[in-house]
């Protein structure tokens, strides 16, 4: 890039718009992650279930979510469903697609977590007279989440970075805003560098707050 002159002022002036985009990115990543965790737990239980139906649904979900590109899934949620007359807004399409892929990956993580918990824990909780729901709520789930904490943060970072694919359907997240702003002035490199830094800071912030939260929840024994 020997003869390139950097102009930073124009990026500075556009910072409010970029921060708006960064907020949308964070927003969609956090929500798709929370929904993904909820679905992931259900699907993991479905996969381990001795009943056929939950098993088939969970297996199909995980297979499709993990073995097709997220880009394709976002496209399907927006244009694919559109072909059948179901019109999601760009935000909803990205949220659904990311939730789908997050829960697909988390299912396998959670399944590993569940299976790592000794059988004796289940039996002990039943012997105390707990119902199935109670034993999961008070005994199994807290231990499972503790075990899968690190893989889960990994998935969170992925979900932040994957949200950049929202540019495809015009969601106006950080990548989309950056693309729009750079096309006005053609200061592509400057805008992309600042966007990269913003992504970095967002993921660091998320990891940082997840760390604080985990200390509270797990009392420091991860």
């Amino acid at each position: 890039m020997g003869d390139y002159e950097f102009h930073w002022l124009i990026v500075y002036q556009a910072l409010p718009q970029m921060l708006n985009g960064a907020f949308v990115t964070l927003h969609v990543a956090v929500f798709s992650m929370l929904l993904g965790i909820a679905f992931g737990v259900l699907l993991a239980l479905g996969k381990m279930s001795k009943y056929r139906m939950p098993n088939i649904i969970a297996t199909a979900w995980v297979e499709i979510a993990r073995n097709t590109p997220a880009l394709f899934q976002i496209y399907m949620a927006y244009f694919g469903l559109g072909a059948f007359g179901i019109h999601l807004s760009p935000y909803m399409a990205v949220l659904c697609a990311l939730t789908f892929v997050n829960s697909g990956y988390l299912t396998e993580t959670f399944r590993g977590g569940f299976q790592a918990i000794p059988r004796t824990q289940y039996v002990a909780s039943w012997s105390l007279g707990m119902k199935k729901v109670q034993s999961y709520r008070y005994i199994i789930l807290p231990q499972m989440f503790r075990r899968v904490y690190y893989p889960m943060t990994n998935q969170f970072i992925w979900s932040i970075l994957m949200s950049s694919l929202g540019i495809l359907v015009g969601m106006g997240e950080l990548s989309g805003e950056t693309q729009r702003l750079q096309s006005l002035s053609f200061r592509t490199l400057e805008f992309f560098i600042v966007a990269a830094i913003m992504y970095y800071v967002i993921t660091k912030l998320v990891l940082f707050s997840a760390d604080i939260m985990s200390r509270r929840l797990f009392k420091g024994e991860i």
Partner: protein, 275 residues
């Protein structure tokens, strides 16, 4: 603190990119010596750039690349770019020149070198027949889309802002084709595009129920060829090439070929006047 330190390291790495400055050889010499012209075209924008039925680059912009290479006496290599790839491809040296219907705004000219204009578009609305969009101000009540990072997007958003329409009715699309797909599926009621592209789309059977609507008010989209800003001799050569395309009648010939109509005399005149 760990968090702050890692952010600092990251920022330092990028700060170093700003330094370093070396002189470059003349691009015109480089192209002739290399024997290949790397020419960027947006092949998502018929009839200026598209893939023909044999999957080969076609369109007026692609033909301009071939003409330019012929004049230089070199082979041509055409790169398919998105709107957003145009500048990075020049800066990274992947392309020598981009013939990609680039609107010559003064803001952009601070970053990249423009030739004289080589084409003039009008920005127009395409919508379903009977949608009730008669004048541009009707768009206030409709869901509107445009391709991300194009001048027509900028013009529409500026107009919408001026009129106080807000952004809630607006969707941006990554490519021209995605915009048309969304219009076709009814995700949006109206798409802003160029008159040339709309005319091409209306000729296809998928869009037989659609019609070209009002123009974006008070705007002619005048486009130039772009190259690196500091390659003055190269831009000079490209300017002369454009003059010759008009003088030799090649522009009129290509216009007829790609638009199925004779070139409007006012367009020739305004290109001659470099306006």
């Amino acid at each position: 603190m760990n968090f702050l330190r890692s952010v600092l390291v990251f920022a330092t790495i990028f700060a170093f990119i700003g330094i370093s400055n070396t002189a470059t050889a003349d691009k015109l010499d480089d192209v002739i010596k290399a024997g290949v012209l790397n020419c960027g075209v947006v092949l998502d924008f018929p009839p200026m750039g598209y893939f023909d039925k044999d999957n080969q680059p076609a369109g007026l912009d692609a033909d301009y690349c071939r003409d330019l290479a012929k004049q230089l006496g070199v082979k041509v290599k055409i790169f398919n770019l998105t709107w957003g790839d145009r500048i990075p491809s020049l800066i990274s040296g992947k392309t020598d020149v981009v013939i990609g219907s680039t609107s010559d705004t003064l803001e952009r000219a601070k970053s990249v070198g423009f030739t004289y204009p080589y084409f003039v578009f009008k920005f127009q609305v395409i919508s379903k027949k009977g949608s009730g969009i008669k004048v541009f101000d009707d768009l206030k009540k409709f869901k509107v889309g445009a391709p991300l990072g194009t001048t027509y997007e900028t013009e529409y958003l500026a107009y919408a802002k001026k009129m106080g329409w807000g952004r809630s009715n607006y969707t941006a699309f990554k490519s021209e084709n995605d915009g048309y797909l969304a219009l076709y599926q009814g995700k949006i009621d109206a798409l802003i595009s160029t008159n040339a592209n709309i005319a091409t789309k209306l000729a296809t059977k998928e869009f037989k129920d659609f019609e070209a609507g009002p123009f974006v008010p008070d705007y002619d989209d005048i486009v130039g060829i772009i190259a690196k800003r500091n390659e003055l001799a190269w831009i000079q050569y490209l300017n002369l090439f454009l003059i010759h395309q008009i003088r030799d009648g090649r522009f009129a010939e290509l216009y007829q070929k790609h638009f199925n109509a004779p070139v409007p005399p006012e367009m020739i005149q305004s290109l001659r006047d470099n306006k």
